[in-house]
């Protein structure tokens, strides 16, 4: 079936099975490979994207439910130059092997969109669905904290 969505600000139509995963549409049809597949069962957060303003695991979203949706991936986040969350991850060593990084960044972007001044507990809660096999959690947490502090510096 034809699925039309707004992907990173652009209207796009895909020919997809209604139960195809959004993750596969992004990576294989749209060739946006910034979104990673980790566990494929909603445990690890590597495939996190923002759908209609909310963080979701794209491995658990069927294509049918993307009809008319507004989808933001890591590529859209950096479309106008690096986002301040990405800058913070760069400056504070928030990325090691990088497999979890796009999902982590999407989780922090979603958090700051809803809550510009989160507490440390709220940052931890926002990151709780994202796993880092390098176990670089403290640096990721520090990066998120510094992204808040950098508010207004870039965007």
């Amino acid at each position: 079936m034809k699925i039309t969505m707004t992907l990173n600000g652009k209207r796009m139509t895909f020919d997809a099975h209604p139960m195809s995963r959004l993750l596969d549409l992004l990576r294989e049809d749209a060739r946006l490979t910034g979104t990673k597949e980790g566990c494929g069962e909603g445990e690890c957060g590597a495939c996190s994207i923002i759908m209609n303003g909310r963080l979701v695991n794209s491995c658990l979203v069927p294509a049918l439910q993307c009809e008319g949706a507004d989808i933001l991936t890591i590529e859209g986040v950096s479309a106008g130059g690096l986002h301040r969350v990405q800058e913070a991850f760069l400056q504070h060593g928030g990325a090691q092997c990088g497999a979890c990084t796009p999902g982590m960044i999407m989780a922090v972007v979603a958090l700051l969109d809803h809550n510009p001044n989160p507490s440390e507990a709220q940052i931890r809660e926002a990151l709780a669905g994202n796993l880092c096999r390098c176990t670089g959690y403290m640096r990721i947490f520090e990066s998120a904290k510094n992204a808040i502090a950098a508010k207004g510096a870039t965007r």
Partner: protein, 281 residues
């Protein structure tokens, strides 16, 4: 496209009426909401039913309404909808806590309370809270609309009272002044986020002049169904000691060994959680 998808189909009705009609005329079709359970089964090749009806975008199923006697939570409300609702936070803290303990934020943004209940896992997070609040469940089909006490809904392991042409419409939770009640929700899992419960608990207790006027407790993952522990409640209300309550509780629950935990651990933790609840002043 993955080849196994050829066996599956999903359709999106334009309205609740059309959804009920499809459910009624196509005996093989099953409800699909937030997909956080079903998409996992699909990818792992263990999704049994092949034909699905997407109800996630039907707006009236997602309503949360506050009326003088009830708070009504639509079956399609996500756990994020529930967690963010100020009236639920204030009046139904057990349900609020349950919503916040499901998966993590990306899961809460998709998973629905109706799906959590229809999936009928004894380990589900929302049922103990619904049991303690004496929720009623509203079931809807093309011909019929019935409302039954939620504590009767789970008929056995993964068995419910839903018939094939029905869907869960909403949960109706009676309003009451619970400000003087002790309310405790507790989930024990391998970690705080993303874990399926080894055991979960909801309890409500009201003391009046040194005696217990009301006591309601429910556990998940200690029996084939989410379990309201009415015998233990009775001992509590009759002024039983902690030891007396624990003895009844231990006979009322029937935890098992499984992939997440074992019976001995679950029994001990159930007793510990109950003891903590009993001792809250």
């Amino acid at each position: 496209m993955k080849s196994f998808l050829h066996d599956y189909s999903m359709t999106a009705p334009r309205s609740l009426g059309e959804a009920l009609e499809l459910l009624d005329t196509d005996g093989g079709i099953r409800i699909f909401a937030g997909g956080t359970d079903l998409m996992v089964l699909l990818e792992s090749g263990t999704l049994q039913h092949k034909s699905f009806l997407d109800i996630h975008s039907i707006p009236e199923l997602r309503d949360i309404r506050v009326t003088p006697n009830y708070i009504t939570v639509g079956a399609g409300a996500t756990f994020s909808d529930i967690a963010a609702h100020p009236d639920l936070m204030r009046e139904l803290p057990l349900l609020h806590e349950a919503a916040r303990s499901v998966g993590a934020i990306a899961i809460q943004n998709r998973a629905t309370i109706g799906g959590n209940v229809a999936n009928a896992s004894p380990a589900a997070d929302a049922p103990p809270a619904l049991l303690v609040y004496d929720a009623e469940i509203e079931l809807l089909s093309r011909q019929n609309n019935r409302r039954i006490p939620y504590r009767f809904f789970h008929a056995g392991y993964k068995k419910t009272l839903l018939v094939p042409n029905e869907m869960i419409r909403a949960f109706h939770i009676p309003r009451a002044d619970r400000r003087k009640c002790v309310q405790l929700y507790k989930k024990v899992g391998t970690r705080k986020a993303q874990a399926i419960s080894k055991i979960c608990f909801a309890g409500l207790l009201r003391r009046e002049g040194g005696r217990i006027a009301d006591a309601r407790i429910a556990f998940g993952s200690v029996a084939p169904v989410p379990l309201r522990c009415e015998k233990t409640e009775q001992v509590l209300k009759n002024g039983g000691t902690l030891a007396e309550c624990l003895a009844i509780l231990s006979s009322e629950i029937s935890p098992i060994d499984d992939i997440r935990s074992n019976a001995a651990y679950r029994l001990r933790v159930a007793q510990n959680i109950f003891s903590r609840f009993f001792q809250v002043k």
